[in-house]
């Protein structure tokens, strides 16, 4: 029973890096506080969705994907979903990476190849900008703490280890 919390995004494209920012800060906080795990949690960061994701997520009981979202809601809005096959395609989610595969294609691919963890949760954070450069815009940065708390509740974790 191991949960993988996966932050996806390019930290050199401002708000697109919100997923990695959440994961890095949560990991750092838990490590600093030295909490004992009552449930195993691992962290991972992927700058851009690619085929390496298939092997990265295989073998976990739970996967939580934290990613930037452009969905027409105000920046900082948090979306929460339990992933189901076809869900993102039906909603017309557009692939947002170059050369091939976005998150939804990769999750679908993992599903047909039997590599998808049994439970998959998606957390999307509405972003304001993907301008080149590091750092989150103010409204998105404000949402990070809330997402971290939510993740802590989801995994019931008092500790974690990095991979």
């Amino acid at each position: 029973m191991t949960t993988l919390i996966l932050g996806i995004g390019n930290e050199w494209a401002s708000d697109d890096g919100v997923g990695p920012e959440v994961v890095r800060r949560l990991q750092g906080r838990w490590q600093k506080e030295g909490r004992e795990p009552d449930r195993e949690v691992e962290f991972s960061i992927l700058a851009q969705p690619d085929l390496s994701l298939l092997d990265r997520i295989a073998g976990y009981s739970d996967l939580i994907v934290v990613d930037a979202v452009v969905g027409g809601q105000p920046p900082g809005t948090i979306h929460r979903e339990t992933w189901e096959p076809g869900m993102l395609v039906e909603r017309g989610v557009q692939r947002a990476s170059s050369h091939g595969f976005g998150v939804h294609e990769l999750l679908e691919m993992a599903a047909v190849m039997g590599k998808l963890p049994p439970r998959v949760q998606l957390i999307g954070i509405e972003i304001a900008s993907t301008e080149p450069g590091q750092g989150l815009s103010a409204t998105v940065a404000q949402a990070v703490e809330g997402v971290m708390e939510e993740l802590a509740e989801m995994v019931g974790a008092k500790g974690a280890r990095a991979i």
Binding site: L51, L54, D55, S98, H99, G100, M109, V112, M113
Partner: protein, 431 residues
């Protein structure tokens, strides 16, 4: 059907997108345009004022699938200016690096981008959902991973390698590091041979334009980093004469550069040209796989490029194993030089075809001018001409299928836009 309107709207995204627009009225093509963003335009400007040692690191960022090609063409061109002679050990390691890139790039295209066209699937995902085809997809992912792993061992990471540079490598791998991949590559060689046989079973439309095929040719080896620029119509020139015979220009309907021959004609570069013009240089098992496939090469059928790619994957595995077995770690791993003013150009064989770079350095070693002609820019005019020739063949097909065939035709070239598969999202209207 005498009227057809195929419209693929431009989608504003990163790294180049394609748009296809075809209008046929009364059986006559009234309008046909293929628009592609070609990122290297911007890179040529970025490079101005940069030190020569930065160039391969910058050009690598042009493409996430073929960064090695951009590093190799730039490094070789700059070495000519700086009068750097690389050692045989560095030369072998560069070929090994190119093998890695050909494997990961070709396998991705063969199985995940191109095969769904032939087999009638919307995507590799729906293809993989068929239990009969799942093993092929699993095999492809494993092979692609081999290419990426070899890239990481040599270059320091799987994408945009860090180690390759002007004069060689910042760090050359140990023999032990390379030998760790050997078993995987033995498996991959067998899998790649099976891939050729599988690709040969696909249905190929009857279509074979009178191409001028252009690629490198080397007296002793299958072309990657060195050779003369040759064509199926008798061209045979040194790389230094490239710009006398290949002209690049901007066309009004596209942000892309198009490259054509000096007489205005189009040409075809890529795996099909390489295999056609270098049959005798293929590795023994690659040649055998091709002969056993029953597909007669040379061929001008662009749909058979999938077979050419599969054959080159065999070659890449076989040569990679040979280089690994004979590997001697280069010492030093790179040859250094003092800055020097001058102009240098070079052509290497990217997965998608010949890639031309030219640089002008000042006496401080800073770039004053750069020119980069990407394979896709060179194939663009040919793709449009292919479409013009091919559209009459599909006019009688159902609309969706006609559109799919046109997309497949474009994908024959493995165009290095960010989304070869994106051509599948089409908005089509019949007149």
């Amino acid at each position: 059907m005498t009227h057809l309107n195929i419209k693929v709207p431009y989608m504003a995204r990163v790294e180049g997108e394609g748009a296809l627009d075809i209008v046929v009225e009364d059986g006559e093509i009234k309008h046909l345009e293929l628009n592609i963003f070609e990122p290297p335009r911007f890179f040529e400007a970025f490079l101005q004022g940069r030190g020569y040692m930065e160039v391969p690191d910058i050009t690598a960022r042009i493409c996430g699938i073929c960064p090695v090609a951009y590093q190799m063409s730039s490094a070789h061109a700059l070495e000519k200016i700086l009068e750097i002679e690389i050692t045989p050990e560095i030369r072998a390691l560069r070929r090994l690096l190119y093998c890695a890139e050909w494997i990961e790039s070709h396998v991705l295209h063969i199985y995940l981008l191109h095969a769904p066209d032939f087999l009638g699937y919307e995507s590799a995902i729906s293809m993989a959902a068929n239990p009969d085809l799942l093993p092929a997809v699993q095999q492809a992912l494993r092979m692609k991973k081999h290419g990426n792993e070899l890239l990481a061992v040599i270059g320091g990471r799987e994408v945009h390698p860090l180690s390759p540079t002007v004069g060689g490598f910042y760090r050359a791998p140990t023999k032990k590091e390379l030998l760790a991949l050997r078993d995987d590559f033995e498996w991959g060689l067998e899998a790649s041979i099976a891939s050729v046989a599988w690709a040969a079973t696909l249905d190929f439309p009857d279509f074979a334009p009178d191409y001028e095929m252009v690629c490198l040719s080397h007296p002793d080896e299958y072309p990657m980093n060195e050779g003369r620029v040759v064509s199926s119509k008798g061209l045979d020139i040194p790389m230094e004469a490239f710009e006398d015979f290949f002209i690049n220009n901007h066309v009004a309907h596209s942000n892309a550069v198009q490259v054509h021959r000096e007489h205005g004609g189009s040409y075809h570069t890529g795996p099909l040209a390489r295999v056609n013009l270098n049959l005798e240089k293929l590795s023994p098992l690659a040649r055998k796989a091709l002969d056993d496939s029953g597909i007669a090469f040379p061929t001008n059928n662009p749909f058979m490029s999938i077979v050419a790619r599969a054959v080159e994957v065999v070659h890449a595995y076989e040569e990679a194993l040979q280089i690994i077995d004979n590997y001697v770690r280069p010492v030093p791993s790179r040859i250094t030089a003092t800055p020097k003013a001058g102009v240098g150009c070079h052509v290497t064989e990217a997965p998608r075809g010949i890639l031309y770079h030219r640089y002008q350095l000042n006496d401080k070693g800073l770039v004053e001018r750069a020119r980069i002609d990407a394979p896709t820019a060179q194939n663009l005019q040919r793709m449009e001409e292919d479409l013009r020739a091919f559209v009459p063949q599909v006019l009688e097909l159902p609309h969706d299928e006609a559109t799919l065939r046109c997309e497949q035709l474009v994908r024959n070239y493995d165009p290095c836009i960010s989304c070869a598969t994106h051509f599948m999202k089409l908005n089509i209207e019949r007149k």
